[in-house]
């Protein structure tokens, strides 16, 4: 007769998330202590209080939140964790704020691999360090298998506004230069190609990146920034159409001057998509007086994710409903419209 094995009846070392990891008991503590807190470790998080107590040295705060739901969770150029941190950092930066603190709320599906979770939270930490922010509070919940896509992340962020300028769509002025910091459409195409398992000669990587540094550089160079906006879902066209309507002006952009990488253009041709409507995660558009366009572009080009910075157009005149006109390569002009629903791949 063999001796019965005497081991702990509570299996605490799982390789996958189980419901008990969200149950508030020892396994949840273990998940927090072994995976999440070490990744985000900082003095404020270490307080382990119900709220993060933070000192903010400013009279103007920017405060934002966003949720991240993406498939696949890991993609060329990033993952959902990097996306969640950069997305919130960028929302703050676009308000002219210096991002300081963010929260992280994880909704994890039962069965999710703990090593993947570990990889994602470490990626969040790396992105936070790069952007100069701290992850100071958070939450985690586990949902039943089949009730989520592996992992959803919600982040909120606060930042301080140190600049005297008001950076708002209403501050866009006739005569302003319209500048983008980077090439267009890379994130959306990278995700789509990976999701559909399409192989391309050269891998298209997402442009997912923090935009806090190039924006801060604009302020440091005393550029009179009128408005900033990151080009996420809906791409350049949707963003410009929205801004034109808010400020009541007509924007004119030139098709030939738009920075789109050749491999992204090829993928768009193949799938029947328009790169002007494809999502980005490291691009923003800025409006500055035409006299400062050269200085703004030169400042941006010093940053690794803004080397393609280029003026793409001009704010031409007032227009009650707002309007964006594309001057095509063929020499005609056409009005850009919001898409109706999602872009769907064409038949042939």
């Amino acid at each position: 007769m063999t001796e019965p094995k005497l081991n702990c009846p509570l299996p605490l070392n799982y390789e996958q998330i189980v419901m008990a990891h969200g149950g508030g008991g020892r396994m949840m503590q273990q998940l927090l202590d072994k995976i999440i807190r070490p990744a985000f470790d900082n003095d404020i998080l270490a307080q382990q209080h119900d709220s993060a107590i933070i000192n903010i040295p400013a009279n103007r705060l920017a405060f934002t939140t966003d949720s991240y739901v993406i498939k696949p969770l890991f993609f060329n150029g990033g993952d959902i964790g990097k996306l969640a941190v950069c997305g919130t950092v960028n929302d703050l930066a676009m308000s002219g704020a210096k991002p300081l603190y963010i929260s992280c709320s994880l909704i994890i599906e039962e069965g999710f691999a703990i090593k993947d979770l570990q990889r994602i939270v470490q990626s969040m930490r790396a992105s936070a360090d790069e952007a100069g922010v701290k992850i100071v509070t958070g939450d985690s919940k586990v949902v039943e298998h089949g009730k989520g896509d592996g992992l959803y992340i919600n982040t909120a962020g606060v930042g301080v506004i140190e600049t005297e300028s008001s950076i708002l769509p209403n501050n866009i002025r006739t005569g302003d230069a319209i500048i983008v910091n980077s090439d267009l459409g890379r994130h959306g195409i990278a995700i789509m190609l990976q999701r559909e398992g399409m192989d391309f000669a050269s891998a298209i990587d997402s442009d997912c990146a923090s935009l806090a540094a190039p924006v801060q550089a604009l302020f440091d160079a005393n550029i009179d920034v009128h408005c900033l906006r990151d080009l996420t879902r809906g791409g350049l066209s949707s963003c410009l159409i929205e801004l034109a309507a808010v400020c009541g002006r007509q924007f004119e952009i030139r098709e030939q001057g738009l920075p789109v990488r050749q491999d992204v253009r090829s993928a768009c041709e193949l799938l029947g998509f328009d790169p002007l409507y494809i999502a980005n995660e490291g691009c923003f558009v800025l409006f500055v007086p035409q006299s400062q366009a050269g200085a703004a572009i030169a400042t941006l080009q010093k940053h690794s994710n803004s080397q393609q910075a280029v003026q793409i157009g001009t704010v031409s005149e007032e227009h009650a409903d707002g309007r964006v006109i594309l001057q095509t390569a063929m020499g005609i002009s056409r009005i850009l419209e919001l898409l109706s629903g999602e872009q769907l791949p064409r038949i042939c």
């Binding site: 056409r334 109706s340 042939c348």
Partner: protein, 362 residues
């Protein structure tokens, strides 16, 4: 981008526009057959560059637009069934059936997936042996060969959980049907380059001869289209009517022989209904008898479906080139991409959608 940028060169385009203006001594009506060409013409503003007397008529070459409503309803009925994974090209998901569209059905919980090829649907069937996978195959001779290949492979693999709802159509009989109608205004055709890359253009030779009409097989970039127009107008001015091939970098007279062989092996040529055009002899492709086990129409018995055509929709006239989208009283008012009355407002290749997207403010 090699082989694309050269065909979008503004200087070359300008030269061709000037040459067309110099050449045209009177008004000419030319139909571009393919929806991809329509889209390109409107997107790049080619029609605005042309002299006023050159009128472009948008043809029936949008695969989504010409798919009859009853097939959309059949697709919806099959996709709603328990245990079915229903696959189609992206464009088809938005087309309204009599009561709803596939995207709406998907939101209600049906397992409907966008695929880029019927072979992706075949892979799904192999990966999910406990589920029924159905592929909705629509389109012209461009997409038909891969549908045929999927049927062929399913038969070879004896794959019993895969079937196809087929509504493939052929271009030349539709062109002939248009030319046979009494009220058509077409004086020349730009032939669909992609279709001819598969089928060649030998089928067009008797058409040009019988109806005394120039047909120029044409590509999709602005310079292609302008060159196709130039060649077509030159024939009209010289009172000639032959088939010419502008798209020589892709198309040969014989076309892609293995693809044609596959089509003959898997499909029968049948009479087919076209949305807006009615029934056209020898214009459709249907699975041969030996492929019946892979024929979703037979497997799911969806013949008796009751379809309800929207009253106000004039897509049919648009598809025949009798009505310009912006002249339709419903255009942009009760018919928009968010609330389309018909397929021409839905498909990315539909003439109404192209006008709405690029010309809504004209």
């Amino acid at each position: 981008m090699k082989f694309v940028d050269e065909y979008r060169d503004p200087k070359t385009a300008r030269k061709l526009v000037d040459a067309i203006a110099k050449l045209s001594s009177k008004p000419w009506n030319i139909m571009e057959v393919c929806g991809g060409q329509t889209h390109s013409i409107i997107k790049h503003g080619i029609d605005q560059l042309l002299p006023e007397q050159i009128r472009l008529i948008h043809g029936p070459g949008c695969p989504v637009c010409v798919t009859p409503l009853k097939y959309i309803d059949k697709a919806l009925a099959i996709a709603a069934q328990h245990n079915v994974i229903f696959c189609s090209f992206g464009d088809m998901l938005r087309v309204p059936g009599s009561r709803q569209d596939l995207l709406g059905l998907k939101a209600q919980g049906a397992d409907i997936r966008i695929v880029y090829s019927p072979l992706d649907a075949l892979k799904l069937a192999r990966r999910h042996p406990g589920r029924e996978v159905v592929f909705f195959g629509v389109g012209f001779e461009t997409t038909a060969p891969t549908t045929a290949l999927a049927a062929y492979q399913a038969r070879q693999l004896k794959l019993t959980n895969f079937s196809q709802l087929i509504c493939h159509v052929r271009v030349p009989p539709a062109m002939e049907a248009l030319l046979s109608s009494a009220d058509h205004a077409v004086q020349g055709f730009l032939g669909a380059g992609h279709v001819c890359s598969i089928m060649g253009y030998h089928e067009y030779l008797p058409l040009a001869e019988q109806y005394k009409i120039p047909i120029v097989i044409t590509g999709f970039e602005p310079v292609d289209i302008l060159q196709g127009l130039y060649l077509c107008i030159k024939q009209l001015e010289e009172n000639r009517h032959v088939v010419e091939n502008q798209y020589q970098r892709i198309v040969t007279q014989a076309g892609n022989q293995p693809a044609q062989q596959l089509l003959r092996q898997v499909f029968d040529v049948v009479e087919q209904d076209w949305r807006g055009l009615g029934s056209i002899a020898a214009s459709g492709l249907a699975l041969k008898e030996e492929y019946s086990p892979w024929n979703a129409e037979q497997r799911y018995a969806v013949d008796a479906i009751d379809t309800v055509e929207p009253d106000a929709c004039r897509s049919g006239e648009v598809l025949q080139g009798l009505l310009k989208p912006v002249n339709c009283p419903e255009f942009g008012t009760s018919c928009t991409p968010e609330h389309p009355l018909g397929a021409t407002m839905v498909s990315s290749e539909g003439a109404c959608a192209a006008y709405y997207r690029y010309r809504n403010h004209d």
